[in-house]
């Protein structure tokens, strides 16, 4: 299949060259499977096979794109797309800068992230996985929801500047399992991310769910008082907070457009806690990494914060072109963020609960519907969901109704950061809007931040 894809791209390149159109092609193919559960049944079982082609035409400073969902054998249709892009670019207003067209010095191919067994994990296997992960946990009142999403993703590129090609193929799975009480309305979750079948661990999911269920079945939920709490964030919450930082923090283009809480003069300065180190690390296979960016730049570990000190902004090629900056290999569908662990050995909720403590601790595994209230301040808001716990100083465990946090990322990752786990886990942050684009962030299993105010506390679910 790879040969056929690259051959088609070469045919398209030849067609564009013959037409005299400067063109870049991006081919995307996904094979997506999703089994969805609700009310303890399979509510949807779907698969989609989609081929997308993006054709970008250039004419000096003019640029225009044509995208299509098509099929590999429809060369005529794709060539028609080249004609349309060529026509569009004639009318596009010139940019105020020169857009860089990639020149691939050599062909690059990376299929190391593709495990055919995971990509084609079958219907019976998906169902068996779920049955094992929730074995004995469902009742008439405690019902199963969730997804088993898996598939394969192929990206291939060529352009008229060079004959060389780029080819990336990955497999991925994202698993979420929710158990909820139909009458009482509480919900608990366990999640898993997989790049290969060996990453799948239904028993691990079952262990986490069983532990939470035990807490939730013992204690009646309560509204907890407003005020400041020492909060321990779980992997999903931490992954989402770091995703927010990607939008309003270290992105050079966002900073130049006034949509960041970081300034250029903060490079080299301490912005966050010395416990905070964040690296874009494409050597970590769990992040479905790109080892070259779409411009052909080799990607290596790129430190963004080291011991709280800001190392520099990341720049996509187009932002670098516009703002006269150096691109950093960040013209990619997604980055490979890794937050470093530190010295606390607790690496699971079970171990957190068992830890001795001299203050109450609020455990928040998941933040629902986070949004940016004020980008210049790094101010974000979101609500707890899926199994929050208030761990009392005396060892008691209280089940709280959901609470809202409205806080600055500067405070969350700043001097209030008390500790992070040594052990890292993978938080799958994939969405399936548009083309398949599996992504994950590697985070310490737990992170405690002291003295964070909760701005709202629910009286019920």
């Amino acid at each position: 299949m790879k040969d056929r894809i690259l051959e088609t791209l070469r045919d398209l390149r030849a067609y564009a060259l013959a037409k005299g159109v400067e063109t870049a092609f991006l081919y995307h193919e996904e094979d997506s499977y999703l089994m969805r559960f609700a009310n303890s049944a399979i509510s949807l079982n779907t698969n989609e096979h989609l081929v997308r082609l993006q054709i970008t035409a250039y004419q000096g400073r003019q640029r225009a794109s044509y995208e299509m969902i098509t099929a590999l054998d429809k060369l005529d249709e794709m060539q028609e797309g080249v004609d349309i892009a060529a026509e569009m670019v004639q009318h596009a207003q010139p940019l105020s800068y020169d857009p860089t067209i990639p020149v691939y010095a050599e062909s690059f191919s990376d299929e190391s992230g593709h495990d055919p067994a995971l990509a084609t994990f079958g219907n019976p296997e998906r169902l068996a996985f779920f049955n094992q992960a929730v074995a004995g946990l469902e009742t008439d009142e405690i019902q199963l929801s969730g997804i088993f999403s898996c598939g394969a993703n192929t990206i291939a590129q060529i352009n008229t500047r060079s004959e060389q090609t780029q080819y990336f193929k990955t497999s991925d799975a994202q698993i979420s399992i929710v158990l909820s009480h139909t009458a009482l309305k509480w919900e608990v979750i366990a999640e898993q991310s997989a790049q290969q079948t060996a990453d799948l661990d239904p028993d691990g999911l079952r262990r986490d769910l069983a532990f939470l269920l035990e807490r939730y079945q013992q204690d009646a939920p309560q509204q907890i008082p407003l005020g400041a709490y020492d909060i321990v964030f779980g992997p999903a919450a931490l992954g989402d907070l770091l995703s927010m930082m990607g939008y309003v923090g270290y992105n050079g283009g966002a900073m130049k457009r006034g949509y960041s809480f970081l300034r250029e003069d903060q490079v080299g300065q301490r912005v966050f806690s010395p416990r905070f180190t964040l690296t874009d690390d494409p050597t970590r296979r769990e992040t479905f990494p790109f080892r070259r960016d779409l411009m052909g730049m080799p990607r290596r570990p790129f430190p963004i914060f080291v011991d709280g000190v800001f190392q520099g902004f990341i720049w996509s090629q187009d932002d670098a072109d516009e703002f006269d900056a150096q691109p950093t290999g960040h013209t990619v569908p997604h980055t490979s963020m890794v937050m470093q662990g530190s010295d606390v050995t607790a690496s699971s909720l079970q171990e957190l609960v068992a830890m001795e403590r001299d203050h109450d601790v609020l455990y928040i595994p998941f933040l629902h519907y986070m949004n940016v209230v004020n980008p210049s301040k790094g101010l974000v808001t979101g609500s707890s969901r899926f199994g929050a716990l208030l761990l009392k100083r005396d060892g008691a465990v209280v089940v709280p109704y959901n609470v809202r946090l409205t806080q600055s990322l500067l405070d969350i990752f700043g001097d209030r950061l008390a500790w992070v786990s040594q052990a890292q886990v993978v938080a799958n942050t994939s969405m399936s809007y548009g083309a398949r684009n599996p992504r994950a962030i590697i985070v310490p299993a737990l992170m405690q931040v002291n003295g964070l105010e909760i701005s709202h506390s629910n009286p019920s679910y």
């Binding site: 303890s40 698969n47 919900e187």
Partner: protein, 484 residues
């Protein structure tokens, strides 16, 4: 193609499927243009076509979709196979509410199909707007145009065949600027419904020019304004934020699939229970809300949903009392059975999919608030002791059961003793859904009612984007926390 689809549908029926439908998109086109500070950052056109197959077998759904329709039989077989596996884990066998077999067509109203307009004309419009926005105080100016045209052919095993042609136009203007402390502020113009058609003709240069001037002026007022106080006040929501309040805390809360727990693994549930229909006082007597997919010229009016049900006008909240929900064929049957009473009398025609490769789910149509009898904005302000007028959706975050919310707006105007006193920046408000709607104390008249469009409502797994509308008046709510 239609004949082949009919044959495959019949073949799967013979193989034991309870219901089969095919949504064939001969073509869906989009055109997205984005000009940022005068740079044409995006000039993209797209085209897709394909077919999605939905099969109900032994009470469970299977779905498959492909852009390559070369082997239709295999595609139908895959959907049936997926349903067969799903049938191994059924708790409430899917039943579909009764419907009539319908042969019909629908076309959204437009005078000039935007896909017939030359690209040069579209870019000239953006450039003219960009020049209008290029004023002192403005550091970022963003002008965007999105056009959508899709042709959808729905065929099912119950004899329906419906063809829809939908055209959408979504323009927007936005300016940003930095205040003296270097903090960024923004102001937007997302035009509301103008006239009875939604083609290229809706891009009225005079209207856009006037609003471009207005958002620049208002943003500059925000840049020199004081911070919104941390306080408890009456909030007067203009349609530019009232639409989103309605969307998030009435619309999503009343989607029947959320109420029944079908979205718990992603979008969330609802605080509403089946026992609440007919009993829950959702809001004050002044609150009447409806799902009206029959108003002309809105993305929430689409003729027939993807179950083939004609669009309707249904009450959701009748003078404060919860009476209805946003429903499709599957969910009403399950809700009635679970409740042990007939809450819903058939589907309300709100099952829609974003593309051929996604399955239909309950989506909002036009979730509207009826106008009231409290007059104009001036009348409402005159009768407000301590309040704040809010407009512009800057940020929104809602609890997973839609039970509480936090919104930030582009701009606020403080009201003291019936007078507007000053503009404030960083305006926010938050509350709990039921107490909030029960504090609704004034609803503007017909002259304040506007239909706002939502181009990008997200829901479902795999994720889906949907376009819809909200007709809302100016509303005042009392005792609301602001400035946090």
């Amino acid at each position: 193609m239609r004949k082949q689809l009919q044959e495959q549908i019949a073949r799967l029926r013979d193989a034991g499927a309870l219901y089969v439908d095919a949504r064939w998109y001969p073509i869906e086109e989009t055109n997205e243009l984005l000009m940022w500070n005068g740079n044409l950052k995006e000039a993209t056109a797209s085209r897709e076509s394909g077919v999605g197959i939905r099969v109900l077998y032994k009470g469970a759904w299977g779905f498959s979709a492909a852009s390559d329709v070369g082997n239709l039989a295999a595609l139908f077989d895959t959907a049936l196979d997926n349903a067969r596996v799903a049938a191994e884990r059924v708790t409430f066998p899917v039943r579909l509410a009764e419907k009539d077999a319908i042969q019909a067509t629908f076309a959204s109203p437009n005078r000039t199909d935007p896909f017939t307009v030359p690209l040069a004309d579209k870019l000239a419009f953006l450039q003219a707007m960009d020049e209008k926005l290029n004023q002192p105080g403005v550091s970022q100016r963003i002008c965007a145009l999105t056009f959508i045209r899709k042709q959808i052919v729905l065929m099912d095993s119950e004899g329906s065949e419906i063809e829809k042609t939908i055209i959408e136009v979504f323009p927007s203007l936005e300016v940003m600027g930095l205040d003296a402390q270097g903090m960024m502020h923004s102001r937007k113009f997302n035009p509301t419904r103008m006239g009875d058609t939604r083609g290229w003709e809706t891009l009225d240069m005079d209207v856009f020019s006037a609003n471009a001037e207005r958002i620049v002026r208002e943003m500059n007022e925000v840049l020199v304004a004081e911070d919104c106080p941390k306080d408890v006040r009456s909030v007067i929501l203009l349609p530019g934020i009232m639409y989103l309040q309605t969307h998030e805390t009435i619309g999503h809360a009343l989607e029947l699939d959320r109420i029944l727990g079908y979205e718990l693994s992603y979008a969330g549930g609802s605080f509403v229970r089946l026992s609440d229909f007919g009993t829950l006082r959702y809001g004050s007597e002044k609150l009447t809300a409806r799902a009206d997919a029959t108003i002309p010229n809105s993305p929430g009016s689409f003729g027939y949903d993807d179950d083939g049900i004609p669009t309707q006008d249904n009450l959701l909240i009748d003078r404060g009392l919860l009476v209805g929900a946003i429903t499709g064929r599957q969910m009403v049957e399950e809700a009635n059975a679970r409740a042990g009473r007939r809450i819903f009398d058939g589907s309300s025609g709100a099952n829609r999919a974003t593309a051929f490769y996604r399955v239909p789910i309950e989506r909002m149509t036009n979730i509207n608030i009826d106008p009231g009898d409290d007059g104009t904005l001036d009348d409402i302000v005159r009768n407000t002791e301590r309040g704040i007028i809010l407009d512009g959706d800057k940020s929104w975050s809602i609890g997973s059961n839609r039970e509480q919310f936090h919104f930030a707006t582009d701009i606020g105007w403080l009201v003291e003793d019936g007078q507007v006193t000053q503009v404030v920046k960083n305006s926010t408000y938050q509350g709990e859904t039921i107490p909030f709607y029960n504090s609704l104390s004034a609803v503007g008249d017909e002259s304040t009612w506007e239909v706002c469009y939502v181009p990008n409502c997200g829901k479902g797994q795999p994720n889906q984007i949907m376009q819809l509308g909200h007709g809302v008046p100016i509303c005042r709510f009392d005792h609301v926390r602001i400035g946090e």
